[in-house]
Amino acid sequence: MSVATHPAAHHDAALLWHQIRYEQLSFWRNPQSAFFTFAFPVVIITIFGLLFRSGSGSSYFYGLTALQYYVPTIAALSVVGSCYSQLAIVLAQRRQDGILKRVRATPLPAWAYFLGLLAHCIMVSVVDVALIVGIGSIFGMPLPTHWAAIAVTLVLGAASFCTLGVAVASLIRNSEAAPAVVQLVLFPLLFISGTYLPIHSAALNRIAGALPVRPFNQALLGPFAQHTGFEWKDLGVLLAWGAVGALVAIRRFRWNPGPR
């Protein structure tokens, strides 16, 4: 029972695997949440596919077809939705319900709890992106070639938006306000970042380029549509935002529900 016997690496690895498995089980056991998590990006990309099926390259989409533009931006949108929005709302809710306090009552270390959530978010992101790419190819979008760049961008983006989600959950006091706060921050950001419509203002692009969503879009647009591979500068900005989120989360995250 002494401290020295069990924080062995294999024990911690087994603990993490245990936590990931049960986090997955909780997610798949709620069929509604599982369905809607994946339904949203599928519906959006299908609508865009039907709208822009026979488009050719245009200067409005920087020489790309509409679908070449929207497959990466909607892929980014789905990752932001499941990592940032969902995670912030779920954590605020779990805290208010006292579930986080119950987790804190066990010896499960905080890092294992959060890595379990991160693994879950990456899993959802990968499934989302696979669905979007699959549906895009049905509408004539060629499959991308730079898979390594896509994988790295996806994992880095998911991790960064997860830390931002945890950071926002740390700053929200009331779980009922969580969806409103999360959307209030996100919606304008998505617009100026060109997620729904390409932005042709150099000034706006400079501003959005320093915020987290546009770099993620750009880092996916490169390998998906322009076959350019790694977009290091954009990945750097994403990483910086991930670090900011992590810092806020570590300093401000609370497990106890606030006074009602």
């Binding site: 029972m1 401290v3 016997t5 069990h6 924080p7 024990h11 603990l15 245990h18 936590q19 049960y22 089980l25 909780s26 056991r29 709620n30 319900d97 006292g98 579930i99 306090k101 119950r102 804190r104 009552a105 066990t106 010896p107 499960l108 270390p109 497990w255 106890n256 529900p257």
Partner: protein, 324 residues
């Protein structure tokens, strides 16, 4: 009864190294409100210790400091030899204690068995999942989803989660609030069985009967301070309190005719006595001489509830006076 003997071995707070819980001079304020002001007590290994007090007396604050959920302003706190405020030692301590919190909070979509099995994986030497489900009184519910459990069953699941890590020390925060009488007695049996297997238990409650039925020792907390400590039968001077002899006033006699001084009211006479044997002898001798029957004759001492009300009520008056 061994229970009483153990309780009488009262130890000075802070001194013994071998106690399960040591609290000395613990203070905690929320802004200008002093929730706990200089609380001291110890919990010995293998006993059931009850922290008894009205809502807002400081029970939960004290417990949450011991459980590591809250920081303290001042005082010494040791749980199994570890400071619960020490984050670095938190994981090792959590592996040795079990917590049953006041609020029910578990993921709604897992089954009972999955929920307990998940938490079992967090501990180095957990108890058997099926066995713990049985001990908590949930046998047969293993495959029920948590959201479909009744309120009482969810509390039992919470108890199962508190036990699964095979704790040396179990904290129970108002464990049977909202239980029906049958469920309470089952829960009490489960808690006694745990003590029987060597687990130390610290519980908070505002139910007198719960403290009376379970606890080896009781500390009454009121206004953030311990106002009395002892076994349920000695706390607040219960054992030294004057015995009370009640009987119906015989027809045709007035209270002044009695050989002992008594207070009449509601048709019953109450005689308080420090020497109940002698008083009873006088009284019954007097009645026998006259061929009188003393109806409804009883002898008792103040109940734990009366002692508790006196202790906590008195404390409130003192506080109100000093606030003025």
């Amino acid at each position: 009864m061994t229970v009483l003997q153990r309780g009488q071995l009262k130890t000075a707070p802070g001194s013994p190294a071998g106690s399960a819980v040591v609290v000395a001079g613990l203070s905690k304020s929320y802004g200008p409100v002093r929730a706990v002001g200089g609380v001291s007590f110890t919990v010995e290994h293998g006993e059931i210790f009850a922290l008894l007090g009205p809502n807002g007396a400081g029970k939960t604050t004290t417990l949450e400091i011991l459980e590591g959920f809250r920081t303290r302003d001042a005082g010494l706190v040791e749980v199994l030899g570890t400071d619960p405020g020490d984050r670095a030692a938190g994981r090792a301590l959590r592996e040795r204690i079990g917590l049953v919190l006041q609020d029910i909070a578990v993921e709604p979509y897992l089954t009972v068995r999955e929920t307990v099995a998940r938490n079992a994986g967090y501990y180095p030497c957990p108890r058997d999942v099926g066995e713990v489900i049985g001990v908590a009184g949930l046998a047969g519910q293993e495959r029920t989803k948590v959201r479909n459990l009744s309120g009482g069953q969810k509390r039992r699941l919470d108890l199962a989660l508190g036990l699964i890590g095979n704790p040396e020390l179990l904290f129970l925060d108002e464990p049977t609030t909202g239980f029906d009488p049958n469920a309470r007695h089952e829960a009490w049996d489960a808690v006694r069985a745990l003590r029987g297997s060597g687990t130390t238990i610290m519980l908070s409650t505002h139910y007198m009967d719960e403290a009376q039925a379970l606890a080896d020792r009781v500390a009454v907390i009121s206004g953030g301070q311990i106002v009395a400590e002892g076994t349920p039968s000695t706390v607040g001077g219960r054992d030294h309190a004057r015995a009370r002899i009640h009987f119906a006033l015989p027809a045709g006699y007035a209270a002044a005719d009695l050989p002992v001084h008594g207070a009449a009211g509601d048709g019953l006479v109450t005689v308080q006595s420090t020497e109940p044997t002698q008083t009873l002898h006088q009284l019954t001798g007097w009645a026998l001489q006259r061929g009188i029957v003393l109806d409804q004759l009883t002898v008792d001492r103040p109940s734990l509830e009366e002692v508790y009300l006196r202790l906590t009520g008195h404390d409130r008056q003192v506080m109100e006076r000093s606030a003025r």
